[in-house]
């Protein structure tokens, strides 16, 4: 018998929150205070941590935002030492950024957060982004995601390019490492080749959590590499269909669909006056299901989504920050516990452990240790 949707297969909801700049609503910038100070980002992360969310998704792209934005890995690293427990999942696009750099940056985020790092894989579609680099033209989504599949493979292989016990510090032989436990990845693909090994040793989680958004061309990357999938859907029926697509693709790739959590994006703006406040910010086409209303209305939607099998959890996307996070911490999170959709986690879990995922075996040793 398969488990129900949700956390630990117990009809429990995974809970993430996406933050970027002053919030997803472009009109939010006009009312924003300083969004570039470290204090702003520490406060956002601390509020999300108070809500007990599994991870903070830090959105990012090289262009297209209304207001000023910082590099998302930088923000994650800046908050990691001072905000405990919460997972930190920055978006890093692969279209213009070297996979070698991505691999060591996310592994290092895992180090400085003691195993709370993830990586949201994304592509840069626009001509505006391509022109910031001037190396190649904007490409169709199918090409971008084919390249992303190679980038993800390189990043994950580099994470495994050091075995856990490669550092031996053997004074008798003068050797700091056992170099037989470092591996060239020797990746050659359609778009690039990368030799390896990484310059950064294997990280606490070994494989930080890989998050990918569901779209038609991203399914191969999801099938091969995703631990968590984010779905945007206008309603729960569409979300259900998207979850089915993801699970089918994962199963077809020979992986267990139970090991890949599907989280539905819900745009939120909560409060008695929520709808009127949103109108005042100007128009915004919804990019996924939206709740502009009470915390109870949001909790109802989450309950229906998870208990009805449309999703294993949700990523809440406050349209206006930092204010939009407060009702999530103060009202939504406690209500989810009351409805037995969430439990309070004891401290000390890695992000993978929050998703019930084991620390993976090393690709380069898996064949030799499988018989042990």
């Amino acid at each position: 018998m398969g488990r129900g949707a949700g956390r630990f297969g117990q009809d429990m909801a995974y809970l993430a929150v996406e933050v970027s700049g002053a919030g997803r609503h472009p009109g939010a910038w006009r009312r924003a205070g300083p969004v570039l100070t470290p204090g702003y980002h520490v406060e956002l992360a601390a509020t999300a941590a108070r809500a007990g969310v599994d991870f903070l998704a830090l959105g990012d792209s090289f262009a297209g935002q209304e207001g000023p934005t910082l590099d998302a890995v930088a923000i994650a690293a800046r908050v990691a030492p001072v905000v405990p427990e919460i997972g930190l999942v920055p978006t890093v696009t692969v279209t213009h950024t070297e996979p070698f750099h991505i691999s060591k940056a996310i592994a290092t985020l895992d180090l400085v957060s003691s195993g709370r790092a993830g990586w949201e894989v994304a592509v840069s579609r626009t001509a505006a982004e391509a022109e910031l680099f001037g190396r190649k033209a904007a490409a169709p989504a199918a090409d971008l995601w084919r390249e992303a599949a190679e980038a993800a493979e390189v990043v994950v292989r580099l994470w495994d390019s050091w075995e856990d016990d490669a550092v031996i510090r053997d004074a008798a032989t003068g050797r700091y490492i056992d170099r037989d436990k470092l591996h060239y990845i020797d990746f050659t693909g359609e778009f690039f080749s990368v030799k390896g090994p990484s310059i950064t040793p294997r990280s606490p989680q070994a494989h930080p959590l890989v998050v990918v958004r569901e779209e038609p061309d991203s399914l191969p990357v999801i099938a091969a590499w995703a631990d968590v999938v984010r779905v945007a859907a206008p309603d729960l029926a569409a979300a259900h269909a998207a979850r089915d697509r993801v699970r089918a693709a994962v199963a077809a790739a020979g992986r267990d669909p139970e090991s890949v959590a599907v989280l539905l994006d819900i745009e939120t703006h909560l409060g008695a006056d929520a709808a009127r406040e949103l109108d005042a910010l100007g128009p915004l086409e919804p990019s996924s299901l939206r709740v502009a209303g009470s915390a109870t209305a949001l909790v109802d939607v989450i309950e229906e989504a998870v208990r009805g099998g449309a999703a294993d959890g949700v990523t809440l996307v406050p349209l206006v920050l930092p204010g939009g996070l407060h009702p999530i911490a103060d009202e939504v999170a406690p209500a989810l516990v009351d409805r037995e959709l969430r439990t309070t986690m004891p401290p000390g879990f890695t992000l993978r452990e929050r998703f019930g995922l084991a620390r993976p075996a090393n690709f380069f040793t898996a064949t030799t240790i499988s018989g042990v």
């Binding site: 570039l36 470290p38 980002h41 090289f62 262009a63 935002q65 000023p68 934005t69 910082l70 590099d71 890995v73 930088a74 923000i75 690293a77 800046r78 908050v79 990691a80 030492p81 001072v82 213009h96 950024t97 070297e98 996979p99 070698f100 750099h101 060591k104 940056a105 592994a107 290092t108 985020l109 180090l111 400085v112 003691s114 505006a128 022109e131 910031l132 680099f133 001037g134 190396r135 050091w162 550092v167 510090r169 004074a171 032989t173 003068g174 050797r175 700091y176 490492i177 056992d178 170099r179 470092l182 778009f191 690039f192 080749s193 990368v194 030799k195 990484s198 310059i199 950064t200 040793p201």
Partner: protein, 434 residues
């Protein structure tokens, strides 16, 4: 004349044999706790900045990954952003290679660090041309050696255009890069990050005199330090820069003791630990270009001559240009010192502390070096992680303060404040590059 103030930077011990990983007190090279300890010690000592080096391919020796020194390190910018969270004033500098990064991305990453640290970022520009490292990157090792400073200059110009654009559109059309668009960030607390350079060639010195806020040098003796200092500062006026707009910081090691004899003994102990028997042979092989693993490190130098064409080590700069000359000078030295063994010879030639003595003696030596215009300060390279700065901060810093040549508190929040540098202005930059 007022006493010149000494600037100090702290180099996190890295992937060469200066770092003694075999010491019982040596901690993890990658745990964040090691970085926290080291950075907070530097901040307690009122250092100008912490510094992280970088190498984007693991070194190889005789076709295999070099395993005798520390290997591996975390990502520079990610660690610096995390250290910003556990320090308040300490500058945060790192090497980032211009060959394997694009100007837009670098400008955005350093601007992010400067914002998230409240104005404490510094970038050591390094440009490499080796295809060896290029194998880790999609662009490969395409750069011709003679283009190194062209690329460094252009990436710096491009980054500055972005940093000082205040989110206005930038269009850059150059030999190395052609791009257009807006940075997602306004100018940073420091205007833009502090710029560090370390080239020693004529082109490198010219680049430093024109652009750098700080220079790492390798000139250890008073005389060579003074010559380098005079040369570098003498090149600045033609770029409209004042001598005090640039700090020259030679890489510096030290050994301390309660008495001079104890300091000498500690120095010898550290030098010996830095050159294990296996490391001695590896050093010799770098010069000889041959497999010398059959030689006894406690025996005499090889009779055979170096293979001048061989590149036995990859992934590090080879400073010895003429292996035969080096071999001959080593043979003469070994004989002059009464028949040094291979290991003793390598200890003698490669592992030497810049300053050895009691805390008071070391403080006076350092002060004399700076007051004598051999430098503006030092980048200290301790031999231990994470505690390599502890004793220096506890004992030498107060002596420097007593001499009146070292700060007793930070006087501003930014690294430019610590280094006494003006904040670059948008209008000034437009004139300078236009």
């Amino acid at each position: 004349m007022a006493t010149k103030q000494i600037h100090l930077a702290a180099h996190f011990p890295g992937v060469n044999n200066t770092t003694v990983w075999s010491d019982p007190q040596a901690g993890s090279q990658t745990d964040f706790g090691s970085f926290v300890h080291f950075a907070q010690t530097a901040e307690r000592g009122l250092f100008d900045f912490l510094f992280l080096a970088e190498g984007l391919r693991l070194r190889e020796h005789r076709g295999k990954i070099h395993d005798l020194d520390v290997v591996g390190r975390p990502d520079t910018l990610t660690v610096l952003n995390a250290i910003a969270a556990v320090t308040t004033h300490l500058g945060l500098g790192g090497t980032i290679n211009t060959t394997f990064n694009e100007p837009y991305e670098l400008a955005r990453q350093f601007a992010s660090l400067d914002h998230l640290s409240g104005g404490r970022a510094a970038w050591n520009l390094v440009t490499s041309s080796d295809a060896f490292t290029g194998e880790n990157f999609r662009r490969g090792g395409f750069l011709k050696p003679e283009q190194r400073y062209d690329r460094a200059q252009e990436i710096l110009d491009a980054a500055r255009e972005l940093w000082l654009s205040d989110r206005q559109p930038v269009e850059h059309r150059g030999e190395q890069f052609s791009f257009s668009g807006r940075l997602t960030l306004p100018s940073t607390p420091q205007g833009h990050p502090v710029l560090i350079q370390s080239g020693d060639s004529d082109a490198g010195r010219e680049f430093g005199a024109k652009t750098a806020d700080a220079i790492f040098s390798r000139h250890g003796t008073l005389e060579s330090g003074q010559a380098f200092y005079a040369d570098l500062k003498g090149r600045m006026p033609k770029y409209g820069r004042r001598r005090e707009d640039l700090s020259i910081l030679p890489a510096t090691t030290f050994a301390l003791g309660d008495t001079e004899a104890e300091a000498q003994e500690n120095g010898h102990r550290i030098r010996t630990a830095q050159v294990s028997p296996q490391t001695a042979i590896a050093f010799l092989e770098q010069v000889w270009g041959r497999d010398l693993s059959a030689y006894d490190p406690d025996g005499p130098l090889p009779d055979i001559d170096p293979d001048p064409g061989a590149e036995i080590t990859r992934g590090r700069v080879r400073h010895e240009k003429d292996p035969m000359a080096v071999a001959n000078s080593w043979r003469e030295l070994a004989e002059a010192k009464g028949g040094l063994s291979i290991r003793e010879l390598i200890v003698e030639t490669t592992a030497r502390q810049s300053f050895v003595g009691t805390p008071k003696q070391v403080a006076r030596q350092m002060d004399a070096y700076v007051q004598g215009d051999a430098s503006d300060g030092f980048i200290l390279v301790p031999h231990l992680v994470p505690g390599g700065l502890d004793e220096f901060v506890e004992k030498v810093i107060p002596e420097l303060q007593d001499l009146g040549s070292y700060r007793t508190e930070y006087t501003g929040p930014t690294l430019r404040d610590h280094l006494g540098l003006a904040r670059p202005e948008v209008a000034h930059e437009t004139r300078a590059t236009g």
